[in-house]
Amino acid sequence: MSTPTPIPTAAPAATRLPGRPLTLSAETGRQLRRRRTLWTFGLLLALPLIIVGAFALGDGDGGGGDDRFVDLATSGAANFAVFTTAVSASFLLLVVAALFVGDSLPSEASWSTLRYLLVAPVPRSRLLATKLVIGLVSTALAVVVLIGWSLLVGLVFYGADAFTGLDGSTLEWGTFAGRIALIAAYLVVILLPVGAIAFCLGVRTDAPLAAVGGAVLVTIVSAILDQIENLGSLRNALPLHDASAWFGLLRQDVVWDDLVDGTLWSLVYAVGFTALGFVLFARKDVLS
């Protein structure tokens, strides 16, 4: 190694950071090539194809049963996309949200890179903000990719028929396009608290699995409590209580109340847990 050039005697004042630390693109670079990212998106892309295959495989020998749901799902691109979304929203997307938002910080801790980011230095709030934004954008992207790809796959395999509800009513494509966009938006909103809980847990732990699994566990407990009718209107306050309200967007007349409730509760939880995460991390002794 050559001798380093002598430093200037009058060092520049360092009260301000010399650059913009951990920009969104820098964080994207850190997450993009990760296997968990690639595998997740790969799975989301494969899922509609798997479902198509399952429908084809199950064709003809179902032995009667309730074919109506499946018949509807294969009636056109719109119904297929709604079916795929419905079967993914209840669990798969929750795990994806918990993974994308919750795992990026404890992953850094488990790789021992967190301390190097912090002494780079990346201010702690900046670090969290960037990780949160990228996590949420990834989650939103996952939802959009799943729905968009399902529409495309449905178009190829089942044609371009308009959406038909279980009650036989139809939504023309013009209406449906707006509705499916709203569904995607609502799903992202519903996933916010899951991500925020995972994020908050991720601040406390150095194990990515603890953050992701913890958040999924919280949603499961919440779903169990949601089954207990005695709780009455208290159940409205459970995260994911209104997770299925997006079906209301598929009716001729949209039922907004549950969507509004679901959105507001989700935002309250998301902001609350995110803020808690920031507070905890600001005070944390980084020992990893």
Binding site: M1, A26, G29, S112, A120, P121, V122, L166, A275, L287
Partner: protein
């Protein structure tokens, strides 16, 4: 009060539960052993629920008394059991006379009595004749018995000094009651003008019409409302202590009339006459007191037609009257109809105000809206609250005709009248059964095939709110001279779910000529509906209904229903109700706003409080650690008042055994750990987490860390990208030379060996050639040539005016690399200084003897020489870490030249092997640590916590 269970209702509830829960279940279900729900009561609880402000019991005093009233027809004397609730204060107070619903006793009124007494009323609550501890038999609101009893009780009130009087023997008093007692209140007020106002809830106008309702605009009584008659019966039997096992405490005459009707399903003229006479209807012409009628919408016993008839009669007479249609009623178990919204207190305060002239008032000064009504949420929106509306007068609904499909269709009355349609399912009080009936459409139970026909409208184009009794035209061609039919109005949602908002039916019993069509107008059960756009309305016609005694003879009818006329009134929503955004949404918005505001403001305030001015005196000192203390959460004090300084051009070794606190100190210097006290300055700026000045520090702390999925080069780039500084400042190529990874820099880091990762970590710390380079155990995992190669790199790095801080437990390494050393032990700094100062001492000579020599003999000899001040013996076995045996050593401190010392030792006959001018740092290290801990430290032990 504990009521005996009603076997019939229990069986019915079980059958319902079984039918809904277990399709195809047989009757062989085991009897449940757990307590069954209480029998739904014929009366309605007047009592307010717990949300009333609790009244301290001391404010209200009660007294009980038995009051003698008129005897039974057989001359048996009767005394009435009363409780008087007296408010605090001198009085005189206005009074309230109240009794209970059918099947209850005065105990039911305890809540109401206390509530009103707390408001300043003397409340006389009593068990009606034939109920509770009162004597006599039940005459079913007979004007000569129950109503006469009430007048005697008014006399009692008039005798009290604490009761306000309008005149001699005339108390200022309101008659208040629900159900049975509601009718009594109306009849008492109509027959005794001492009553100043009446509040009558969910009660009848004409008991004959209530038990034999006829919805058709036709003569003659309708079918017998068997279910409710049975419940009255059971309510009487529940009073116990009766000589007659069947009739219980019912008056024998009345009982026989009911039993007759139950046998035949027909109304005898005697029964009809008796029921009509035991009703407010014939007496209302004399009722002058302002009257408040509260009727329940969920009431298959006394529908809104009953209160409408009373209100119409009173309006015609000129008596002030207000009507409220509320949620609840006889079908809705355990709901309170005289709740907050009903405004009972407002009504009483107005009409019993001592300042008010009891004879004034023309109805223009009603304290409550003349008509208020509750509209339920649309089907499928049961989460929504019902919405309250008011009107400025007591309106007649306007009607709007909607066509129905007028196709005539056949319908059969099954022989024996069974199975019967289950349209009306009065609340059972069992949460489970009610939940099931709410969750499952009752339509399949109501619309039995062959026994029912349905007539639908087209889907509605806009939402409609119906208020009143819808009307239809019904055409019947029957095979029998009399046709009995039941009509109900269902809402059919777009997804084809049929919902009966209030489980009410309109019974029709009309005379027909067999084979000839007869058309009548029918008033369907009155109430309120919210029908969303896209829903259809359906009129369901059934030949049977479980609430009613159906004809037993088989019958075939051909039925047409047409001209559905939908009622509406112009009501105004009550503000503060569900008209605006609901409370949940408002609460959530507020919570969200508070959270967001806190999230934005708190960091701003904290940042402002944290800003510290740079210390100009320290501006040129690369690193100053002052008084650092850190105690971990488990109580372990890892660092205890540590201070040291690293200057420019220095290579500072931070030396200490494992657990000495080296890494914790460095972590605090980097802002990774918050010290309990003390400060760290880097180039004059105080370090806190994320300090900008850390950009001038490069670090390898406790092992390297890399993204395993990226290559070595990509990792360096990713790290530099995270700093956000320009690429050209990083000097990647020069730094990669330090790492000396060759082609491996293009491989993912997860394939690296520990040494490769370590070298890459050192390289990463050097990125951008920071002014302060902190390396924690840099030689970990490196082989000896690599360690040797690192030494000059660090020395050259510092020579350029930068500072290198190396923490290590390898003494030799520090000795060779560092210019300065800071020795730590047990969280404290024990020695600082230059390496030379520590190891070099002009007066000290270190002499190594051959293995097996006896150092003590030599030492004794040398010690005796003049000029020698001290001789220390280091025994053979103390030479730790050496690869081959090293002989014992002598440390000689003397004022003699070193050559003289060597000569002395050699001359003593010692087997001299080596001479050194300086001590090993190791010895210094062991020495100072031994001194610091006061004992010989066992350095193999990790420091005990």
């Amino acid at each position: 009060m504990i009521r005996p269970r009603a076997p019939l209702a229990t069986a019915a509830a079980m059958a319902l539960g079984a039918a809904l829960l277990l399709p195809g279940a047989t009757a062989a279900q085991p009897l449940p052993t757990q307590p069954l729900p209480a029998q739904p009561r014929v009366d309605q609880v007047l009592e307010q629920s717990d949300d009333q402000p609790a009244t301290a019991p001391t404010e209200v005093t009660t007294s009980e008394a038995m009051v003698r009233v008129g005897p039974e027809p057989d001359g048996q004397p009767v005394r009435i059991d009363t409780t008087t609730y007296v408010p605090a204060g001198e009085g005189p107070h206005p009074a309230v006379l109240a009794t209970h619903g059918f099947g209850g006793s005065k105990a039911d009124l305890d809540g109401l009595g206390r509530r009103l007494a707390a408001q300043g009323y003397v409340v006389l609550a009593y068990s009606a004749r034939g109920f509770g501890a009162s004597g006599g038999r039940i005459h079913l609101a007979d004007p000569d018995f129950e109503v006469a009893d009430a007048r005697v009780l008014l006399d009692e009130l008039a005798k009290r000094d604490d009761v306000l009087r309008d005149g001699r023997g005339d108390p200022r008093v309101a008659a208040v009651g629900a159900s049975y007692s509601g009718a009594l209140a109306l009849m008492t007020a109509a027959t005794d003008d001492r009553v100043d106002t009446v509040v009558a809830a969910i009660t009848w106008n004409d008991l004959a019409e209530a038990f034999f309702p006829q919805a058709a605009r036709s003569r003659g009584p309708g079918p017998f409302k068997q279910l409710w008659a049975s419940r009255f019966f059971l309510g009487s039997a529940a009073q116990g202590a009766a000589t007659d096992p069947v009739c219980g405490r019912f008056d024998r005459e009345i009982c026989e009339l009911f039993l007759d009707a139950s046998r035949t399903g027909e109304a005898s003229d005697e029964l009809l006459g008796m029921l009509a006479a035991h009703s407010p209807a014939p007496l209302l012409g004399d009722l002058r007191a302002p009257t408040y009628l509260v009727q329940g919408l969920a009431d298959s016993l006394f529908g809104t037609d009953q209160s409408d008839a009373t209100a119409a009669a009173l309006t015609e007479r000129g008596t002030p009257v207000a009507v409220r249609w509320t949620e609840g009623g006889h079908d809705a178990f355990a709901t309170s109809v005289l709740d907050e919204a009903a405004g009972l207190e407002r009504w009483l305060d107005h009409y019993l105000d001592p300042a008010r002239d009891p004879r004034s008032g023309d109805g223009s000064d009603l304290p409550v809206p003349p008509f208020s009504y509750s509209v339920p949420p649309a089907p499928g929106r049961e989460r929504d609250e019902p919405q309250d509306f008011t009107t400025p007068d007591l309106p007649l609904p306007t009607y709007d005709e909607v066509p129905l499909d007028p196709e005539p269709r056949p319908v059969l009355n099954p022989p024996g009248g069974v199975p019967a349609s289950l349209t009306t399912v009065p609340g059972t009080g069992d949460a489970l059964v009610d939940a099931v009936t709410d969750a499952v459409s009752t339509y399949p139970l109501a619309a039995l095939p062959g026994q029912s026909v349905a007539f639908d409208t087209e889907p509605l184009e806009s939402e409609r709110v119906l208020v009143g009794a819808p009307r239809v035209s019904l055409s019947v061609t029957s095979s029998a001279p009399t046709s009995t039919l039941f009509l109900s109005l269902w809402q059919v949602t777009p997804d084809d779910t049929a919902v009966l908002t209030r489980q009410l039916v309109a019974p029709v019993r009309i005379a027909t000529t067999p084979g000839e069509a007869r058309t009548v107008d029918v008033d369907l059960a009155g109430g309120t509906w919210r029908v969303p756009a896209g829903s259809r309305l359906r009129v369901l016609v059934t030949t049977t209904d479980q609430t009613y005694a159906s004809p037993r003879a088989a019958r075939a009818d051909v039925v047409t229903v047409d001209r559905l006329r939908l009622p509406s009134v112009a009501g105004t929503p009550v503000d503060g109700g569900t008209g605006g955004p609901d409370a949940e949404v408002v609460g959530l918005l507020v919570a969200l706003g508070v959270l967001l505001a806190a999230s934005v403001l708190v960091p701003l305030v904290r940042r402002r409080g944290r800003a510290t001015a740079p210390d100009p005196e320290l501006a040129d000192v690369p690193l100053v650690v002052e008084g650092l203390v850190k105690t971990y959460a488990d109580g372990h004090r890892a660092v205890d008042d540590v201070s040291w300084t690293a200057g420019r051009g220095q290579v500072v070794g931070l030396l200490g055994p494992n657990g000495a606190g080296k890494t914790t100190t460095l972590r605090m210097a980097m802002g990774l750990i918050r010290p309990d006290s003390g400060r760290v300055h880097v180039l004059g700026e105080q370090v806190h987490p994320g300090s900008p000045v850390l950009a001038r520090v490069g670090a390898l702390v406790e092992g390297p860390g890399f993204l395993p999925h990226l290559t070595g080069r990509q990792n360096l780039h990713a790290y530099w990208a995270a700093t956000g500084r320009p690429e050209e400042e990083a000097r990647f190529e020069e730094v990669l030379e330090v790492a000396a990874l060759g082609g491996a820099v293009e491989r993912p880091v997860r394939t690296y060996s520990q040494g490769m990762r370590q070298r890459l970590g050192i390289a990463q710390a050097m990125l951008g050639f920071p002014e302060v380079l902190v390396l924690d155990e840099p030689t970990n995992g490196l082989d000896p040539p690599q360690i040797a190669g690192l030494r000059p790199i660090l020395q050259r790095y510092a020579a350029a005016g930068r500072t290198v801080i190396v923490s290590s437990h390898l003494l030799a390494e520090v000795e060779m690399t560092c210019s300065h050393v800071v020795v730590m032990h047990a969280g404290r700094v024990v020695v600082t200084g230059t390496v030379a100062e520590l190891v070099d001492s002009a007066g000290t000579t270190l002499l190594t003897l051959g293995p097996g020599s006896d150092p003590d003999t030599v030492a004794d000899v040398v010690r005796r020489q003049p000029g020698v001040s001290e001789v220390e013996v280091l025994p053979e076995e103390e030479a730790e870490g050496a690869t081959e045996p090293v002989g014992p050593r002598l440390v000689v401190t003397a004022e003699l030249p070193r050559a003289e010392v060597v000569r002395l030792v050699a001359g003593s006959g010692a087997d001299l092997v080596a001479v050194s001018s300086r001590r090993q740092l190791e010895e210094v290290f062991l020495g100072v640590i031994a001194e610091a801990s006061g004992t010989d430290p066992d350095l193999r032990q990790v420091r005990a916590r």
